[in-house]
Every structure is written in C-alpha cells, then in structure tokens.
C-alpha cells in the first residue's frame, strides 16, 4: 500500500536530490540502508529497510534499482514503493556490485561512506566512487516544509507516548513492562517505529540502556528518551520522572538541566553552530561546578539532529562546527550524570528558524512525578 503522505514527501525529496545529482554531474548514485540507519536510502527511494542490507542505485535517466535480501522485503518494497525496480538475493551486496559493474565507466557517487558495504567499495570501484555524503547531508539537514510537518506529527506522538510512559511507570513494574505499554500504544495509533531507552534507580545509574528486568521503586529517577517516527521522520523527547514525590536534591539537580536546556535552545537560530549550542548548555554546568559531567566520561552528546534518522548530524558538541540552517531539526538535551542524584535527562526537538526556533514538544519541562 502506498502511503500518500509519504509519497508526497518523497516527491519533494526526489526533486531536491535530482538537483544535487545534476549539479555534481553524477551518472548514478549508490545508497545503502538497513534497519538501524536508512536515512540516505529513504531520502532517495522512500523505502524503509526492516531486515537485512538494502542498496539502491539511482541511475541518471535510468530508473532506480533496489537490491534487498529476502522476498519479504522485496514484496513489501514493490507494494510500498512501486516506482522502484526491486530484486532480492541472499547476497544483495554482490548483486548490486554486479549491477554496478554493468554500468561501465560512469561517474558514480555513494553514501553513507561509513556504512557502505566493503563488497561495493573495495578495489578500483571504491577508489573511483565519489562521496555523496556531504551533498546529501545538506539535504537531510535543511528540511523542506513538508518534511517539517512530518516531524511536527512525530513530536505530537512523542508527547502522547510520554503520557503513556508516565501512566505505566509505577513502583513494582519492570522496565520492559513499561516499554511494552508504550510500544503497544504507538502501534495502536499506527506509529510503526520508535526508538527508546530508559534508566531507573538512583545515584548508581550512569545512563540509559534498553529495558531490563529491574522493577521500579519509590524514589527512583526514571529516565527515557522517546523517539517515535511518522512517515520516516523522528522527533525526540527526553524527560525524567520520580516515582513518588521528588526529593529536594533531585529538584535542585534538575534545575541545572532546565537551565542548561533553556540556554541551549535560546541560542538556536539559523547560522549558529552546533558548537555554540553545546557551549551554552555546558557553560551552565560549569557555572554550577559540574563541568566534569559534560565530558564524554559521563555523556555522549549534548543533543543531535533528528530527521530520517534518530540521531543524525550534527552532534551537538563543543567541537562540532556545523552551521545550523533554517529548517534544521535538532534535539537539545543536556543529559548527563549528576553526582548527587544520578543520571538525568531533559530534551526537546526544535525546528531552527531564521530568528530563533520552534519547539515541537509540549510535555512540561519539569521534574515529573508518578504515583508510588
């Protein structure tokens, strides 16, 4: 079944991509995706890979070929993306490599370089293939209005999903049972995909992971990031709640995160760098004597882009100089460990605009609590 909205977005993306391909004089574009990261591939084809490797080859004036690894994926691709010429093989990499060999001496480009299978890039073919990553990254970063609408809808799902998360978080429940309730909600609402990790406990908790069997207890900090997906686009919300009434140390600690996130969001506008956003967040921690906890010993990033991938470029870090254009969508999240109370998270997805930003998340920014 063709998703009409997804198809409409695909048409916009196809036109933008065609311009880039023409500008670079590429004869064919090779794109790779899998169930973890499919953004480059989906941008060009609208196909979302669920199992195995998937490789698309868009040939100038020659259609778009898709190579997948099972008849289940192939049948779904043909149904959902009838504009693709789909074939399957248990070894899609070799099948795609043979197809590229058949193209002869043409100017090829590929992306993403880091994930492109070795079988496609080893030897002379790889040496001659241009890296299409930077050009496509620019398209992925500055989104068209119709893409931003999808992210707004995903953000609405994130808000609703967090309410389910709060309702599910009760003393005695296991982490995986909480996640089960949230995922069941998303599926009931027709949202096919969500990335979430969580944490629970106190000062001993250093981060979030997939759900385990630990049961929630009164006094726990319960953290999560929810990242539902609509028409391929993700939006992310990070919140911390307490089972029972928050303690004063928990409230005091959370105030630092509130201040840091507000500082990061306050500098968002077209032309600002990721570095400036990260610095605004981290300066708050440094002012509170918590600068150590902004390092990679305690936190991965201070936010990141979101779009066709959960955690896309740029990472919000002080050493990342990527300029954010209008239409970029980023999650600012000063998530890190607090030495007095444990790991806390707070994050919201925003659209970067010419004169500021539009925050898409409506869940209150505060240390929330769930009945014990």
């Amino acid at each position: 079944m063709v998703n009409d909205m997804s198809k409409a977005i695909h048409d916009v993306r196809s036109a933008r991509l065609a311009g880039v391909v023409a500008d670079h004089g590429w004869d064919a574009l090779v794109l790779y995706g899998n169930a973890w990261q499919c953004d480059y591939l989906r941008y060009a084809t609208d196909y979302v890979c669920i199992e195995g490797n998937a490789i698309a080859v868009a040939v100038k004036d020659g259609g778009r070929r898709l190579f997948v690894e099972s008849p289940l994926e192939a049948g779904r691709a043909e149904t959902e993306c009838p504009w693709l010429d789909v074939s399957w093989s248990p070894d899609a990499v070799s099948a795609a490599a043979a197809f590229l060999d058949g193209l002869g001496n043409r100017k090829l480009a590929s992306a993403p370089a880091t994930l492109m299978p070795y079988g496609l890039i080893r030897g002379r073919r790889g040496e001659e293939m241009e890296d299409a990553g930077p050009a496509i990254d620019a398209l992925l970063l500055a989104k068209a209005d119709i893409e931003l609408d999808a992210i707004r809808r995903a953000a609405t799902f994130a808000d609703r999903g967090y309410q389910v998360f709060m309702d599910a978080s009760r003393a005695g429940r296991a982490q995986f049972e909480v996640v089960a309730d949230v995922e069941a909600f998303f599926r009931a609402e027709g949202c096919p995909e969500n990335f979430m990790i969580m944490g629970s406990g106190g000062q001993e908790v250093r981060g979030m992971t997939p759900a385990g069997e630990r049961r929630l207890q009164v006094g726990d900090l319960v953290t999560t990031e929810l990242t539902p997906c609509v028409d391929g686009y993700y939006a992310q919300l990070c919140r911390t709640l307490v089972i029972g009434e928050p303690s004063q140390p928990q409230l005091d600690a959370h105030d630092v995160y509130l201040e840091a996130e507000a500082a990061g969001i306050s500098v968002l506008r077209a032309g600002v760098t990721a570095s400036e956003v990260a610095r605004a967040e981290n300066d708050v921690f440094r002012r509170h004597g918590l600068g150590e906890y902004t390092t990679n010993a305690y936190t991965r990033v201070r936010g990141h882009g979101v779009g066709l991938f959960v955690d896309t470029k740029p990472h919000i870090l002080e050493d990342v100089d990527t300029v954010l254009p209008a239409g970029a969508t980023v999650t600012v999240h000063p998530n890190t460990y607090h030495p007095e109370v444990g790991y806390m998270v707070l994050g919201d997805t925003s659209i970067v605009t010419e004169d500021g930003s539009e925050c898409l998340i409506e869940t209150p920014r505060k240390l929330l609590s769930a009945p014990g």
């Binding site: 899998n34 169930a35 490797n53 099972s70 248990p90 599926r187 027709g190 997939p210 028409d231």
Partner: protein
C-alpha cells in the same frame, strides 16, 4: 529499533554453552589456519556475535575478535559508559571502546597474530566501509578472507540452548498472534498493538509485525503505518526475537473460513512433519526456508526456486513460510521447525 527486554538469564543461556560455541569456533579457526575471526554486529545484524557471547547491541556497532585461544574480545564504537551494561548482558573478554572500530581491531589483531596470519571475516563483503577500510589498511587487505561459510557450518546442528530459546520465541510469537487475531475486529492498529503488547510483556527482545490486510487481493505482507482496512481474509506475521533467537509465525485469518482452508492447514501440518524428517515442502506453490547462519537474524536458505544445501540440515532450527494458491485465493502460513 530494539526496544524490548535485553537481559541475560544464565540459566537459559549458561556460560558453559557459550564457551562451548566459542571453543567450536576456535577449533574451526585452527583447522582453517586462521589467526583470527572477525565478526561484525549492529542492530540489524546481531546474530553471529549474539550466538557466541549473548551480546546484542541496541545502538552503534562493534566487531568481535575470536582468536584460537582465550576469550573473545569486543571492539565497540559504543562509549565506555556503556561498558558495564555490555558486560552485564554478555560473556566476553576485554572490551575496547573506540570510534575507530576497524583500526582498533587491526591493532589488536597485530598484537595477537603473527605477521602474515590470515584473518577470516564473517561476511566480508557486507562489512561496513567505515570498519573494513581501516581494518584492511591496518593488517593488509590480502590477509582478509571471507569466513561466512566457516561460521555457518558452526551453526549446524543447533545446540540445546538454541533449540530451547527458539522454542520460547515461537511460544511468544504464537501467543502474540492469538492476541492480535482476537483484536482484529478493531482494525489493524488493534492487531499490531495486541501483538506488540503480548510479545513484549512476555519478554520479547524485538517483534516485527507484517500484515496482508486483504488476503483475497494480495498475499504480500506489509508494515502498516496508520490504519489499514482489514478484509474478510487477512494474514498476519509476527517475527519475534527472544534472547537473540529469531523465529516467525504467519497465519491466514478469516471469520468465515473458506471450504478449502482446512485442507490447506492439513497440508501445512504435513509439510512441517516432512521438514522435521529433513524433506522439502511438497506441493506448495511458493515456499521459503530461513535460518540463522550468519550475522542476520534470518537468512533465506532455500525456496521453491532453489533448495539450498543448508536449508534442511539435520538438527537445525528453520522457519518455513509457504503459500497455497487455492481456488478462491491465496492461503499462507509459516512456523519454525527443528529439522
């Protein structure tokens, strides 16, 4: 994305069983004259590393290095903060955290192997360029060779742990489908939700749901976004992971069952019995056999077009899916079976 329960129950997957698998691997390495086996893992390709160590990544990527002796070593692009969690859910030797996974692996191989030692890579052609290129640069491209077949041979026959965990995954898939079918009067979202909820509350690591919303029109399975109208006949498939072990179950549903469906069900039962005895599905128009032999959870091993040599090996866990083209439309089914 992985979002269910990831944990290690040492009664379900005992250390001794994991160590026996690693020993089997090390013996094969020695027989093949390889100095190291490199095994890639990420969210969509977790199975080979999971089988050896019980580690399933929910994010990022890693390679496992198995040398002819000692514990396997993991080189992960996950940050050190995640190290304690990795250690809590898996049986591993040293864990190296580095964004340069390929370069890090090359350095460890250089430390442990003699110059010129051959290095096997499970599914070398599928190794991501960001890892493969620095690995090849670090130890020399000519020393790398594909070890997909070597690893696949290790999986035959399945051990008791694999059979038991696959059986548990199959139980979860069955129960989840029952719940989904019971909710079908309320539409595709209700079916998906009931399957998701049932599977995850039962401890599933992951569940993928596909529907053929109108089986009379098409047997093609789709991932539903939004709501799809369910026809009088529809098909639903749940692919379930439990502790690293994936199975599928596929059912055709009709409130007023057509007259020829009971015979189709009997035919499918007969196929399962034949497969348990090592025989291919007989008279189905379309059939597919999948199994876990590499990094992917389920790989196509045989079909009505080409019965592969690994499809029906004795003692293995396989998933069979088939279609009968009946007079009034297709009928589909699928289940896991031990050959």
């Amino acid at each position: 994305m992985r979002r269910g329960l990831l944990s290690w129950d040492k009664e379900e997957a005992p250390v001794v069983a994991l160590e026996a698998r690693v020993a089997r691997c090390q013996s094969a390495l020695s027989d093949a004259g390889l100095g190291c086996l490199v095994v890639y893992t990420n969210f969509p390709r977790p199975s080979a590393v999971s089988w050896l160590t019980h580690f399933v990544p929910y994010w990022s990527q890693a390679v496992l290095l198995v040398f002819p002796d000692g514990m396997p070593m993991l080189v992960a692009s996950l940050t050190p903060r995640v190290g304690p969690w990795i250690a809590s859910v898996s049986h591993l030797g040293d864990i190296t955290h580095t964004p340069d996974t390929g370069g890090g692996a090359a350095r460890l191989i250089a430390d442990r192997c003699s110059d010129g030692a051959r290095v096997g890579v499970v599914e070398l052609n599928g190794l991501p360029g960001g890892i493969a290129i620095p690995l090849a640069a670090g130890i020399g491209n000519s020393r790398l060779e594909d070890a997909g077949a070597l690893f696949a041979d290790l999986r035959d026959p399945a051990d008791e742990v694999e059979i038991a965990l696959s059986a548990r995954a199959a139980e979860i898939a069955s129960a989840a489908l029952e719940a989904g079918i019971a909710a079908s009067a309320d539409g595709s979202g209700a079916v998906n939700s009931a399957i998701e909820s049932t599977a995850r509350h039962a401890g599933a690591e992951d569940v993928l749901i596909h529907l053929a919303p109108d089986l009379a029109a098409s047997s093609r399975l789709e991932r539903i976004e939004g709501e799809a109208a369910l026809g009088e006949r529809f098909a639903v498939q749940a692919s379930v992971a439990y502790k690293g072990h994936w199975v599928r179950e596929l059912r055709s549903i009709c409130a007023n069952e057509p007259a020829d469906w009971p015979a189709a069900k009997a035919g499918f039962d007969a196929v399962l019995a034949e497969m348990r005895d090592g025989n291919a599905p007989g008279d189905a128009q379309i059939w597919l056999i999948e199994g876990n032999i590499g990094t992917r959870p389920l790989s196509v091993l045989g079909s009505h077009e080409n019965i592969g040599d690994r499809a029906l090996r004795k003692g293995t866990v396989r998933v069979v899916s088939l279609q009968y083209d009946l007079a009034d439309g297709p009928w589909v089914a699928g289940r896991s079976v031990v050959i």
